[in-house]
C-alpha cells in the first residue's frame, strides 16, 4: 500500500506541471498585449507599463514561467489586480464555502444514492425498486437551476421553513476560524448558530445533490446486481451467511469500485457545477469569486482560481485511486 501510494504520488508530478503550464498560458494567451488588455482601453501608457512590470511581462517567457512556478511552490498564488491582496489569502474563505457546500451535498448524495441502489438491487423488480429508479431518472433529468428556484419558491417563499440565501443570518456576528461554518460553530459550541448554518446549507446542498444521488443510485444498483450473480456470492450463501451480510459485506465491497469511480467523477463535477447553484443561492463560494474576477478582468485571480480548482480535482482523483487500492488487493499487485 505504501509503495503504491508513493508511486501514485510521483505520477502526480507531470500532471501538476502540465496544469501549471496551462494556467500560466491563460494570461499569456490573451490576444494582443496582455498588459494593455488588462489595463483596459483607456489606460495611460504609464499604467500599462506599470502593469507589465507588476506581472513580470517584460521578462523573457521561460523566466516568467520559472518565477511563476517558484511562487507556486512557496504557496504564492500572485496578487489580485483589483484588490492588490495576495490571492492565497483572499481565496481561502471562498474555497471553504464551496468545499462545505460540495461535501455536504456529496454526503447526502452518497448516503441516499448508495442505500437506494442497494435496496433496489436487493428487492429487484419490487415496487420499491421501480419507484426509486423512476425517481432517479427524474433526478438525472431535472436542471439544477430549476430545482434550486423551485426549492426557494416552495420552502423559502411559500412555506417559509428555510432561508434561501447566503451561509448564515447576516445579523449574526462570528469571527470565522476555518471558514467551514459548521466546524466553526461547533468550535464555538454555539448550537443556535450551528442550526442556522445548517438551515442555510439544506436547500443548496439538496439541489446540488440530486443529480449525483440519482447517478450513484443507478450505478450502485446495476453494480450490485452484477456482483450478486457471481459465484462467490453463491458461496457466501452456501456457508449459511445471512442475507444482510451477504449484501452489505460480500456484495457491497465488490460493487463499490464502479460506485467509487462515479463518486470521484461527480465530486469533480460538483466543484464546477457549484457555480450555478452558488449564484442562485447567493453562496459566497469559489464560483462567485471567479465569476466576479472574470467580469472585472482580474486575470491573475482567474489564473490562480483555475489552478486551485484543478488541483483539487486531481487530488480527489488521487484519493479515489488510493481507496481503490485499499479495497481491492489486486490493484496493488499491478493486476486489474
Amino acid at each position: 500500500m505504501f509503495a503504491y501510494t508513493v508511486r501514485r504520488l510521483l505520477m502526480l508530478i507531470p500532471v501538476l506541471i502540465g496544469m501549471s503550464i496551462i494556467t500560466f498560458a491563460v494570461v499569456h494567451l490573451i490576444p494582443g498585449d496582455p498588459a494593455q488588455t488588462i489595463a483596459g482601453e483607456k489606460a495611460t501608457p504609464q499604467r500599462v507599463e506599470e502593469i507589465r512590470k507588476e506581472l513580470g511581462l517584460d521578462q523573457p517567457l521561460y523566466k516568467q514561467y520559472l518565477d511563476y512556478v517558484k511562487g507556486l511552490l512557496q504557496g504564492d498564488l500572485g496578487k489580485s489586480l483589483i484588490t492588490k491582496r495576495p490571492i492565497s489569502e483572499e481565496i481561502g474563505p471562498f474555497l471553504a464555502a464551496t468545499a462545505e457546500l460540495v461535501l455536504t451535498s456529496m454526503l447526502i448524495a452518497v448516503f441516499f444514492g448508495v442505500n437506494l441502489g442497494i435496496i433496489s438491487a436487493w428487492r429487484q423488480n419490487s415496487w420499491f425498486d421501480y419507484t426509486s429508479m423512476v425517481i432517479a431518472l427524474i433526478g438525472i433529468s431535472i436542471p439544477v437551476f430549476w430545482l434550486g428556484l423551485m426549492e426557494q419558491w416552495l420552502f423559502a417563499q411559500t412555506l417559509d421553513w428555510l432561508p434561501s440565501n447566503g451561509r448564515m443570518d447576516p445579523r449574526i456576528q462570528m469571527v470565522p476560524i476555518t471558514h467551514f461554518y459548521v466546524i466553526d460553530t461547533l468550535i464555538y459550541g454555539d448550537t443556535e448558530v450551528l442550526w442556522d448554518v445548517v438551515k442555510h446549507l439544506i436547500l443548496p446542498a439538496v439541489a446540488l445533490a440530486t443529480v449525483p444521488m440519482a447517478i450513484i443510485a443507478r450505478i450502485t444498483r446495476s453494480s450490485m446486481l452484477e456482483v450478486m450473480r457471481s459465484d462467490y456470492i453463491r458461496t457466501a450463501r452456501a456457508k449459511g451467511l445471512s442475507e444482510f451480510w451477504v449484501v452489505y459485506k460480500h456484495t457491497l465491497k465488490n460493487a463499490a469500485i464502479p460506485v467509487l469511480t462515479v463518486i470521484g467523477l461527480q465530486l469533480g463535477l460538483l466543484l464546477g457545477g457549484a457555480v450555478l447553484t452558488e449564484t442562485i443561492f447567493s453562496w459566497p463560494g469559489i464560483g462567485r469569486y471567479l465569476y466576479t474576477a472574470i467580469s472585472e478582468r482580474d486575470y491573475t485571480v482567474v489564473q490562480s482560481g483555475i489552478l486551485v480548482v484543478a488541483t483539487m480535482f486531481v487530488l480527489i482523483n488521487l484519493l479515489v485511486d488510493l481507496i481503490y487500492a485499499w479495497i481491492d488487493p489486486r490493484i496493488q499487485y499491478g493486476r486489474k
Binding site: D231, Y232, R234, T235, A238, L241, K253, I327, R335
Partner: protein, 342 residues
C-alpha cells in the same frame, strides 16, 4: 431408512419464466446413505446443479419453485423450509463446493477471513480458535504454505483454490458434501489429487458425498452408487460396478459407449444422436424417445416410471416395464442392447 442422510423423492422443481414453465426437475429420486459416495451424472443442462441447489435451498425464487416431491435431510423434511431455517444447516450439516474454483472465492477477502467466517457463522468461538481450526483443515487438504490465511484468492492457483473451497466446506465436519463438478475446471493431474483428497476425507470423517459430474471415468473411480439423469429426470440408478457392467436404460448405454476407449479399435468417438430436448418443449411420453434407438409407439405418449429391474437397480424405460401387449418385444430388445454395449 434411518441411515439415509439425504432422501429426495419425486422432486419436481419448475422455473416460471416469461416464456413459459421450464420443468427443470421433473421426477428426481436420490438417496445418499451414511458414508456413501453417490455419483450424479448426465449431460449438460439435465438439472444436476438445480437439484443440488434445491437441496441447499439456494434456487432463486422467483423464478424457481418446488412444485412436488420431498427433500429429507437426516430424517427431517426440509422441502419447504424457510431461508432462515436453511441457513442453520447450510455450511454446517450440508456443504457444497462448486465447479468454478477461480471465481468461487471472494477476491476482496483473504483466505483466512473467508474460512473464519465460515466457522463463526455456526460455531461460537474466538477468531484465534477459528484461525487455528482453519489452519489444521487447510493442512488436511494439503496446503501447508506459510501465511496462507493472509493470502488473497488471486495469489493461489485453481487447484489450490479448490482445496481451499474443500477445506472451507469440510471444516465444520458436515454430514453431507455436495460437490458440483469439483474438478471440471482443473487439469488432469490436479483433478486426480482433488478426487483422492475427497475420497480420503470421506474415509476419515465418514462424510457422505453427492458427486456431480459428467465424467463417467470419475464415477467409476470414486462412487459406490451412480444415478443417471436425463432432461430433469432420474433415468437409472444402480451400484457403480453393476451399472458399468449392465446398463439397462438406452441413455446410459449411449453414455457408456461414448467414453473414449484407448484400445484403438474404435474408429471414431460414438455420440448419442440428436439433442437434449428444449426445456420448454419436452416430449409427452419418455423424454429420451426422440433419440432412442429402441423407441416404441407407446414411448411417445406414455411416461415410463422409475422402477426396480433387479434389486437395487432402477430404470425408467418401457423396455423393462411389463406393459401389456408390448412387454415381450421390449425385453428382447433390452437384452440385445445390453449385449451390444458390453
Amino acid at each position: 431408512m434411518s441411515q439415509s442422510v439425504l432422501e429426495i423423492s419425486e422432486l419436481q422443481l419448475h422455473f416460471f419464466t416469461d416464456k413459459g414453465v421450464v420443468k427443470a426437475i421433473d421426477g428426481v429420486d436420490i438417496t445418499v446413505n451414511e458414508g456413501e459416495i453417490v455419483g450424479l451424472v448426465g449431460e449438460s443442462g439435465c438439472g444436476k446443479s438445480v437439484t443440488s441447489l434445491a437441496v441447499m435451498g439456494l434456487v432463486p425464487n422467483p423464478p424457481g419453485k418446488i412444485v412436488g416431491g420431498t427433500i429429507r435431510f437426516a430424517g427431517q423434511d426440509i422441502t419447504h423450509w424457510t431461508n432462515k431455517q436453511m441457513r442453520k444447516i447450510r455450511g454446517k450439516d450440508i456443504s457444497m463446493i462448486f465447479q468454478e474454483p477461480m471465481t468461487s472465492l471472494n477476491p476482496l477477502f483473504t483466505i483466512g477471513d473467508q474460512m473464519v467466517e465460515a466457522i463463526r457463522i455456526h460455531k461460537k468461538c474466538s477468531k484465534k480458535e477459528a484461525q487455528a481450526m482453519s489452519l489444521s483443515m487447510l493442512e488436511k487438504v494439503g496446503i501447508k504454505r506459510k501465511g496462507i490465511l493472509d493470502l488473497y484468492p488471486h495469489q493461489l492457483s485453481g487447484g489450490m483454490r479448490q482445496r481451499v473451497m474443500i477445506a472451507m466446506a469440510m471444516v465444520l465436519n458436515p454430514r453431507l458434501l455436495i460437490a458440483d463438478e469439483p474438478t471440471t475446471a482443473l487439469d488432469v493431474t490436479i483433478q486426480a489429487q482433488i478426487l483422492d483428497l475427497m475420497r480420503s476425507l470421506n474415509k476419515e470423517y465418514g462424510t457422505s458425498i453427492l458427486l456431480i459430474t459428467h465424467d463417467l471415468g470419475v464415477v467409476a473411480e470414486m462412487c459406490d452408487r451412480v444415478i443417471v439423469m436425463y432432461a430433469g429426470q432420474v433415468v437409472e440408478e444402480a451400484d457403480c460396478c453393476h451399472l458399468f457392467k449392465n446398463p439397462t436404460h438406452p441413455y446410459t448405454q449411449g453414455l457408456l459407449k461414448s467414453i473414449p476407449k484407448l484400445d484403438g479399435n474404435e474408429k471414431r468417438l460414438y455420440s448419442i444422436p440428436g439433442q437434449v430436448p428444449h426445456p420448454l418443449r419436452m416430449p409427452q411420453g419418455c423424454r429420451f424417445a426422440p433419440r432412442c434407438e429402441y423407441v416404441m409407439d407407446h414411448c411417445w405418449s406414455q411416461k415410463p416410471e422409475l422402477l426396480e429391474t433387479e434389486k437395487g437397480h432402477l430404470s425408467r424405460c418401457w423396455l423393462h416395464q411389463a406393459k401389456e401387449g408390448s412387454g415381450n418385444n421390449g425385453e428382447t430388445n433390452a437384452t440385445n442392447a445390453t449385449v451390444e454395449s458390453s
